[in-house]
């Protein structure tokens, strides 16, 4: 058994105490997010598994099977911390404060043998630096999961299909139209056409910042699919600068009904369904007849 493992094995409780003290003293301790008992349990578990791993004689390759439990515990801790809203600093300090605790104990033990102290410190530092990199990696993975979930949620809620009139649907599209988004838009639209028996759909692209050939291709596909279902599609919200760009790009939208604003598109839809909106001469303001 090597000296590092011995040190961990024999001084387990002392290391835990020093480490806990370090953690409790640190300003970044989040006692609002994690209780002291929980923190102590986590730390105890980590030291025990670290002692077991080092006892095999391996102190530098953390990808070896004997470190599996250590990495598992660490990953678990940093992923939960990422979800709970700990900052990177607070998560990183967890492992780094163990390094401080171990260094302090080593210093005490080998104060008369600077050469041994130096060697031991080097081993401990290398090992714990590797472990803290693992913490960061998993912390970021945890955060990415949160972001991915949010992206899914945004995609879900950002493609509403609105029934504006009997038989007329409107789809305001906001943001970039990529393949995944088009798929959702198309699915929602086609489903809603079936559900409501609508014959006209208005796709409003006022909120799409740039219309390039890929976006245009997705729009054309959506229109074709709508037509296959027997409904007519109107694209509205084509701004002046976008119209010029589409012409220069050479995209042919001539067999698709397009309008500058949602209001004019709605007017067209009304006339296609023989609905008339007119000012009434009476004091009510306006009335709708069919």
């Amino acid at each position: 058994m090597n000296t590092t493992a011995q040190l961990l094995q024999n001084n387990k409780s002392k290391i835990l105490e020093t480490w806990m003290q370090n953690q409790l003293q640190d300003n970044s301790l989040r006692d609002d997010l994690i209780s002291n008992e929980e923190l102590r349990r986590q730390s105890d578990e980590l030291i025990s598994s670290l002692a077991r791993a080092t006892s095999t004689g391996n102190v530098d390759n953390i990808h070896a099977p004997e470190y599996e439990t250590v990495i598992e515990i660490l990953s678990d801790i940093s992923i939960t911390r990422a979800r709970q809203g700990f900052s990177p600093r607070e998560t990183g300090m967890y492992v780094l404060s163990l390094k401080q605790a171990l260094s302090a104990i080593l210093e005490e033990k080998h104060s008369d043998q600077p050469e041994v102290l130096y060697k031991e410190l080097l081993i401990i530092h290398r090992l714990l630096d590797n472990l803290s990199v693992v913490t960061f990696e998993t912390y970021i993975k945890g955060r990415e999961e949160v972001i991915l979930r949010q992206t899914d949620e945004i995609n879900e809620i950002s493609t509403p299909v609105i029934r504006v009139w009997d038989g007329i649907l409107a789809l305001p599209i906001i943001g970039t139209l990529d393949s995944a988004r088009t798929q959702i838009v198309m699915e929602n639209l086609l489903q809603e056409i079936v559900n409501t028996g609508s014959s006209i759909a208005i796709l409003d692209i006022s909120g799409v910042p740039a219309v390039d050939s890929l976006v245009a291709q997705h729009l054309i596909k959506t229109v074709s699919a709508t037509r296959l279902m027997g409904a007519e599609c109107i694209i509205s919200g084509i701004r002046a600068e976008i119209a010029q760009t589409i012409v220069h790009l050479g995209i042919d939208l001539s067999n698709i009904k397009t309008k500058a604003s949602l209001a004019t598109a709605l007017q067209l839809a009304f006339s296609m369904r023989n609905v008339e909106v007119r000012n009434s001469s009476k004091k009510t303001g306006f009335s709708i007849s069919r």
Partner: protein, 137 residues
């Protein structure tokens, strides 16, 4: 021609397209480009950056604000180390695509901007340079 500012952006994922487009918008607003010219430039940039992702496995874009004869403009250089284009003339033709797209990306981008240059070597990669002037047509 004088280069006023220089910046590089790595494009490796689909998610890099939107920040890149916003960066181009920011630069063109800064030099006072009109909305139509801005939209043209951004659309052309968007086409080229998508090509880079789809066919060149990503790459990098250099964004420069330049000045010539007291007129300012924006130069974008798209560089990838992808498979390259065997026949550039064919790729520049409307409706030609090796993917399943409309085949308007390269020729469309050329029509949208003031200056367009493409260099490609098979096995080495492709470099596309575009310039759009503040008061370009």
């Amino acid at each position: 021609m004088i280069v006023m500012t220089k910046d590089t952006m790595q494009i490796v994922r689909e998610q890099d397209v939107v920040p890149f487009r916003n960066r181009v918008r920011e630069l063109s607003t800064k030099i006072g480009m009109s909305l139509v010219n801005q939209t043209k430039l951004i659309t052309a940039a968007s086409e080229l950056v998508r090509n880079m992702l789809k066919y060149g496995n990503g790459g990098k874009v250099m964004l420069e604000t330049i000045s010539k004869n007291a007129q300012s403009g924006i130069r974008l250089i798209f560089e990838d180390q992808g498979p390259g284009i065997p026949d550039v003339q064919q790729a520049m033709r409307d409706g030609f695509s090796t993917g399943k797209s409309l085949g308007l990306g390269l020729p469309g981008a050329k029509r949208l901007v003031n200056e367009f240059d493409i260099k490609s070597a098979v096995g080495e990669g492709t470099t596309v340079t575009i310039i759009h002037w503040k008061h370009g047509r």
